[in-house]
Structures are given as structure tokens and as C-alpha cells.
Subunit: 291 residues, 4 copies
């Protein structure tokens, strides 16, 4: 093994520690740095999209924002390259969820810069806007630093089968009422197609109720009332499922906390001392459960 | 018993096994086939209803869709006939819920084909549309393959008495506030009849809030606020009822899981080994509970 | 005691049993009769309010409906008189909640009949409509026959202190955001007074969202988003309170069921046999708990 | 220590007892007095804001209301001064949350009175309105007397970490869907900026659904349906979290109640007698738990 390669390997290892591990002090600082950058870049997108309204007096405002955008893109490109290089198994990171997201947030700008004819072509205006909006995926970078969602995620995963069956039922109800409403209201007042009727049913059953499509016949209103009251009853079902699982997870957490001194378990989640022998309960375990 | 009849009886038995039993391999394949066909036929209805918008360049698009419709109707007719023939007690299937649904989804097309004058009569346009929309009931065919909704259904069934009383209360509140609002707003701004006022009360109490009918007087707005805050309080009641029953069902499931080796029970629902003797817990039981 | 008086007293007792007791067979029949009459009279009000739309071809439809109304009023007057007479303590029933409701549903018609000048006076049109709409209180008569709402009512009563504090908080939040929004949006787009702003806050916090009053400035929309997300968090609080109490009530019910043979308790609510000795569990107790 | 100072010190102590302690009889009377005054002052603000509508016949109505406003301001100024004087550590009260609120509700009027040019300047109309609306913060004075929100607050505090993570997730979803919708609907129908799109996403995900901004393209409606159904699933999460913690708090309360006679614990929260020895349970403890 040559001196150079060894140096490179050790640099890569340190780089990996900086980017992927959050237990070391420098790793945590790096994490904070990337969180702040990601938040700033998303905030920047919001300001950019209303730029002409917010700063009506600065004529070259969009050009100036373009410069800031270049800075963000370069920064995220550096992050991407470092992560690819630092990853021990080269192919692993670019193919992962976060690798894909990271790529999506830098690629659009390179495409727009490399093919300048795109921006001026009137036919591709939707494509260009979509490419620019893809940058909003930067917000997903933050998910990387929220890995301790533990109990929420576990409850959702364990409830996924039941939630799946529930949403199957909901889909059937939506198709049924959408279809009936399409027949009853008859193509008027927004019920122009089966798709629009099902969209109305979604908006109604979930109690969103935009009011852009509403029934105007007496029969249609009765049908809508039935659908609404049905929604009112079944809105409770996912709540019930998730609550039941979450209670179990919490109880499990309680049982998991045991005193290291007398092995007594079943302590309150926020207890600081063993209720049996008075020994200090390990905060670490408690945190593990709290998360 | 003649040879012919015996051959027929055995064919019927195999046919029954294919259509009504899902435990054999061929039965499961048949099930998948009918699920796919049902989903396709519903998807087809959606595309058909927006056909002229989606394919504006194809002039005879509705005619082409008519051809596909014939294929689906024939397929479902074959299914219906097979199910009637295969059913051991002839009258049982046609009189069942699914028999009724299956008939409803094929009958309308035969009526429209047998009485072509229906489609051209301007007076019966609503009836024709209703007949055509009845095909959307095909989505209910999928319910047949979702029989394992277990815990949801049991909780709903056990809670039905309490939910009934609750909806009785809700109905009384709706009539009361609908009536008061009708008097206060006085026939203006959509409150044109007691029925319309109660429709407004349904839309409001359940927090759907279309906004097609809204109070415009100060007194009306006060009354609406009271109704809304009332709705806010009682929206919790069905959730509470269902959650309480679901927790019980889940606990029951937990108690039901017992180790076949040492008969220890009370295992976690996702446990794979007995916590007492380490023996493998039967997955079958776990699944039975999970469903 | 004279013969006449004794006859009268016994008639009164039988009358009382008929009207106020639901345990005898004739009492239950009487109850069913009054439920049906009450439901019919409410249904009649709905049809009456849309009479000219439903039956455009019958010119004297309102007059005909007036005749039916007389019948209902007479029937309810007879009920009221019987209940007053049958009540052992004369003053008790007329001063009770149901006595007040019963009076409210018959009095308006007598006022309108005795002072016919009311109906023609253009100044009193609101008063007349209010008097007529008071008849909708007939729906409250049905509450009399829903006395077994047990668990719901008990949970609500026990939670009333916490719900009170919660709604105090909500009122403070509503005033605060209503006031801020009034200042920010400044009298435009429906935010015309503090009252209207608070009405908007009620409609928004509870996720009803009519859309008749909506923020149009960027600052107003930010404020609205904060209020909405606040509502999203605290919508859970009454649910949580009620669910916790309801679970307790259900558990209490479970403990209350004990086998009459071996005194073993803690049975499942839908258990039919004692899990300990196999004796039949009393259905009566179970029903008492189920209610 | 001079006689004067001692007299002053004792007056201050009595003043402190009156204003900050609610256990003495005079303290409770003082509390009731300030609650009534605060409620009246808030009610006054509502009436004032609709004054010209409510009393169209009184020309100098706004002037008259101004006189009442002076009275309230003077009263609250006296309260503020007394509290500052009575506070043992001078700086403690003015820097506290309630000190800040109390100041905010009296300062604006003094600013408006001292700088009369403010009210007539057309440029500062927004500032003046904001200053006047600040008085609505008086409603927050009531929070002082709602300190026993115990269980609600404790559950919220213990759940704040999980609720924080949850709202982080929600924020990411909102940005994502807001951005996608901005690209799909393309600046039309209210989706004019990323900010407006995220506002739409907030209104939609939380099922408020004003309907002031709604999707009009088929793709936009599909995206909206996905966001709505997502909201429908995750609306349960904060409910689940809070309910689980509240159940624990209630159970804790139950365990905390123990009979002073036989030390038996685990009584029902509304029990009045010990289930074990029949001794009267202390109401104080029960209340402590109930709160």
C-alpha cells in the first residue's frame, strides 16, 4: 500500500466520520452546519419566488438571486461529491434515498446552465419551472437529521396493514359516492367527470370542504350529508388504530426501564430514581425510551 | 346417477372451489385475476367519463370505448353465470349481497342494448346516466377479497349501539340548529328551507365547511360559532368510543397468543419467540391476531 | 274519599304509568306511539318548509299543510294536558326541561291563531317566523326516550371541568388571533369588526374553513397558518380527555361484571359464560354495562 | 426602621397578599374583581369595534366609548402600579410574562394620548390600529387565574419533543407539496408564489379548506387528493401522542389517591369512600388529582 493511498484512505475515513456519524463533536458541528445551510436554501427559494413583489425597487433582483443560487448549488455539489467519495461502498450512497434527493436538488441547475436554450423556449416553460421547483426537495435533506422519530415510525409501520385495509375501504366508498353524485348532479356545477366527482368525494369525506364543487340539488345534498356523516364516523378509525399501537409502544418503553441496582422495572417514564431502592435511574435508558 | 351428471357435478365442484375458495393455489390465482379485472373495469369507467377531454383528436373514441365495455360486460356475465351454476344451493348466491352487486353491474348494459330507444329519448337522460353509472358498483366487487378486516369490523359492530345513540343526539342537534338558523337568517343567503338549513348544519358541525351557505347576520354568526364549538367537542366522542373498543380488541389479541411449549401467554403482538421458554411462537396465530 | 275521586285517582295513576313508565307493555307501546308522532311532526316541518317547491301544481298546498299542523298541535296539546294531570306533583312536570319543551312546541300555534293580526303585519315577520320555527323543538321530545346514553354522559360530566378549562384557553386564543388579524388585515375582505374577526378565528381554529372571510395579505396568511397549526395540535386535547375517561368507564364496566356462581370478576364485556367456572353470566348486568 | 417605613412595608405586604395570593378570603374577592374587570374590558373592545353599526343613531358614540376606555386604562394602570410596588423583588414582576402583558394593555393609550398627531397622520393608520388592537391582550390577563390547567399542561410538556418532531415532518411535507403544486398549477388560480402554495398546503393538510385557492388541473387535483389523504392519516398522530400521555397522567392520579386510614390505594378518581375500609377519602387529594 503506497503512502499516498494510505493518506487518501485515512482522509476518506475522517470525511466519512464527519458526514455520516453524529456522535463525535466535529460530526455534530458538521451536522449543524448542513442543517443551517439546508434551511437557508429553502428559505431562499421562498424569497426568490416572491422576489419581484418583495423588492419592487431593485430592477436586477432576479439576477442577484441567481448569484446566490449558484453559491448554494456549488455548496451542495461539494457535499454530494464528498459523500460519494467518503462512502466506503461507492455505489451505496448514490443509489440510496438521500443520494437520490441530493442529486435531484443540484442536477436541475446544471441542466439549465448547460442547455440555456431551455429557458427561452416558450414550449418548455412548464419543464423549466418543474426543474427549478425540484430544488424544493432540499427540504427533504433535513429528514436525514430526524432519524430518531422512533415511536411514531414504529407505530405507523406496525399499523400499516390495518391502515392499508382502511384506505382500501375508503377508496371503495369514494368511488361509489363519486359515481352516484356524478349521476345525480349530472355534469353540472363542477361534477363534470367521474374523476372530478371522486375529487369532490375526497375533499368532502376528509372534511376539507373547499366548496369549489358543491351539490345543488336536494338529492345531491342528502347524498353529500350521508357521505359527510360517514366520514365523521370513520375519521376516528385511523386515530383509534394508531392510538392503540402507540399506547402499547409507550407501555413497552415503561417495562424496558429497569433499575440497574435492584432490577426492579415498570418505572414511570419520567422517573429519575428507582421507586424500589432509590438508586439513580440511567438517563440514557430513559432518553432511549422517550425518543 | 348417469355418467354425464356425475361429470357435471364434479365440474361444478371444481368451479366452486375456483370461485369461492381462496385456500388452493388455483383459487388464489383466480382471485388475483378477478381483482385485476375489477380494478381495470373501474379504471376504464374513469377514463371513459373524461374520454372526450383526454383524447380530443380521436373522433370515434366513445364508440371504441363501447367495444371495451362489451368485453367487460361479457366477462362479468360469464363470472355471474359460473357463480350461479357453481353455487351448491342455487338460490343462495343470487340473493346474497355480492350476487346483487354482480347483477347490478351487468344488468344496465343489457337494458340499454335491449331497449335502444332509451338512449335517444331526451326525457330519460337521467335514467340512462344512472343506469350507466351503476357500473361503478363494480368497485364493490373488491370488498369480497377484503374479508379480513377483522378488528375494524368487530370494533365497529361492538360500538354500533353507542355510535347509534351518538348519531341520534347529533341528528337532534342538527335539526335544532338548522331550524334556529332558518329563523334567524330568514330565507336569505342559501337558508331557503329547513332542509337547506339542516344541510348547512351537517356541513358545519362536521367541520367540512364548504362555504356555499354561510351566515351573514351577527346573530347567525354567533349561533354558527356555538354549533362549531359544539361540533369541536363532540367530534371526539366517536373517536373515544372506537379507540376504547379497539384497545380492548388488541389486548384480547395479546392474551390469545400463548406459547405452544410452555403455555405462557401475554406476549407482545410482534414477538417471534416465547419470552418464557424461548420456543418459536406460531406465526399463524400471530397473523390471526394481527389481521 | 268519594267514589268519583277514587276513580279519578286510579285513572291518573294508570295515565302516569302509561306516560312516564316504560317498563310495562302498554307503556312501551305508548312510548313507541309518541316517538313515531314526534318523528312524523318533525318530518312534516321539513316538507312544509319546501312545500311550494315540492308541490308546485297544488295551489292551496299551504292551506292543506295548515290542517295537518292543527292535528299535530291538538295531539301534542292532549299529551301536555295528560302529562300535567297525571303528574303526581302538579307543578313538577310543567317546570321540568321536557315540560318547557312540550309547551314551547304547542304555544306558538295558539299565539298565531289567537292573534291573527300577527301574520299579516309586515313588521313582525321575523317574530312570526321565529314562533313557527319554535315547533322544530319537537325534535327534543325524542331526547326523553334516549335516557340510556349512560357512558357518554358520565364521561362528559366527569370531564366537564377539564373541558371547561380547555375552552377557556380556546376562547383566549380566539380573541387574541381575532384581534391581531383585525389589525393586520385592517377592515378589508370581511375583517370588518372584532366580532367578525373572532368569528373567522372560530371557523379557522376548528378547521371548518368556510372561506367567506380569508386573509389576503402575506402577514395575515402567516398568522392564519400559525392559528391553523395551533388548532391542529389542540384539536387532540378534548379527544384525549374524553378517551381517557371513556377507557376508565369501560374498565369499570368490566370490573363490575362478576359471576353469580363463583364471584370471579374481570370478564370481557361481551362474554356470555364465566371464564372461571363456566356458569352463564347474567345478560342483564352485561346490558347495564353495555349501555 | 422608622415608623413610616414600617407602616409602608406592612401595607405593601397586605397589598401583595391581596394581589398575588388567592388563598385568603379578601384575596379571592380581589381575584374575582379583576376577572370581572378584565372580561368587561374585553367585551367593551368588541362593542367598540362595531359601535357605529350597533348604535347608528348616537352621533358622538365613539367619543363616549373613549371616556369608558379612559376609565379602564386608569384602572389597569392602578393595578400595574400596585403590583410593581407590592412585588417584593421590584424588578421581578415588570420583567415577567404577565408584567409584560399588563404593560402592553395600558401603554398604547398613553402613547396615543401623548402624541395626538399620531391619530391624524394618514401614514401611520396601521400603526395606530395596531396600538389600539394591542388592548385585546387584556384577555391574556385571564390566564393568570387559570393556573390549575395541570394535566393538560403536563401532558403537552411531556409530549413536546414528539410533537416537535411531528411538526418538523409536517413542515417538510408542506414545503414539498407546496412546491410541487406551484410547479403543476403554474402561477394561476392563486398559486402565485411558493409562499401562497405553502399557505394552500397548510389550509389543505389540516382539513381547514377555505377554498380561496383550489387546484383546477387534473394533475393538481390528484396531488391535492394525495396531500388530503396524507393529512387524514397523520391528523391522528398528535391525538395518539397526547392521548397516550394523558391516560398515563390519569392513571398516575389514580395511584396517588390512597386512603389515610388503611393506606389502600388505586381508588376510582371520583370515589368518595375507601373501597377497602369505608373511611372517607380526602376531597383535597381528589381535587388535586382532578385538576
Amino acid at each position: 500500500m503506497s503512502q499516498d493511498y494510505r493518506y487518501f484512505a485515512s482522509a476518506r475515513r475522517r470525511c466519512y466520520a464527519l458526514l455520516f456519524e453524529h456522535r463525535t463533536r466535529s460530526g455534530r458541528r458538521m451536522e449543524t452546519f448542513w442543517i443551517v445551510i439546508s434551511l437557508l436554501s429553502v428559505l431562499f427559494l421562498f424569497i426568490e419566488s416572491s422576489a419581484t413583489d418583495l423588492f419592487p425597487n431593485i430592477p436586477d433582483i432576479l439576477y442577484r438571486f441567481g448569484t446566490i443560487e449558484v453559491a448554494f448549488t456549488v455548496l451542495f455539489t461539494v457535499e454530494y461529491v464528498l459523500r460519494v467519495v467518503a462512502s466506503p461502498r461507492k455505489i451505496h450512497y448514490p443509489l440510496s434515498f438521500f443520494g437520490f434527493i441530493d442529486l435531484c436538488t443540484i442536477l436541475p441547475m446544471y441542466i439549465l446552465w448547460l442547455i440555456p436554450s431551455l429557458s427561452v423556449s416558450p414550449d418548455l416553460v412548464v419543464l423549466v419551472r418543474l426543474l427549478r421547483v425540484l430544488r424544493v426537495l432540499r427540504v427533504l435533506k433535513l429528514l436525514r437529521y430526524m432519524s430518531d422519530a422512533g415511536i411514531l415510525w414504529r407505530s405507523l409501520m406496525r399499523a400499516r396493514r390495518k391502515l392499508g385495509i382502511f384506505f382500501g375501504f375508503v377508496a371503495i366508498i369514494l368511488c361509489l359516492f363519486g359515481g352516484l353524485m356524478f349521476a345525480v348532479e349530472g355534469g353540472k356545477d363542477g361534477f363534470t367527470s367521474l374523476g372530478a366527482s371522486v375529487y369532490w368525494a375526497v375533499v368532502t369525506l376528509t372534511t376539507v370542504g373547499y366548496g369549489d364543487i358543491t351539490p345543488h340539488t336536494a338529492l345531491g345534498r342528502m347524498l353529500a350529508s350521508v357521505l359527510i356523516l360517514l366520514g365523521y364516523s370513520i375519521i376516528a378509525v385511523p386515530t383509534g388504530i394508531l392510538t392503540a399501537y402507540m399506547s402499547q409502544e409507550l407501555e413497552k418503553g415503561r417495562a424496558a426501564r429497569s433499575c440497574l441496582n435492584c432490577l426492579h422495572s415498570g418505572h414511570e417514564i419520567d422517573a429519575k430514581f428507582c421507586a424500589h431502592c432509590g438508586a439513580v435511574l440511567e438517563a440514557g435508558t430513559a432518553q432511549l425510551v422517550e425518543k
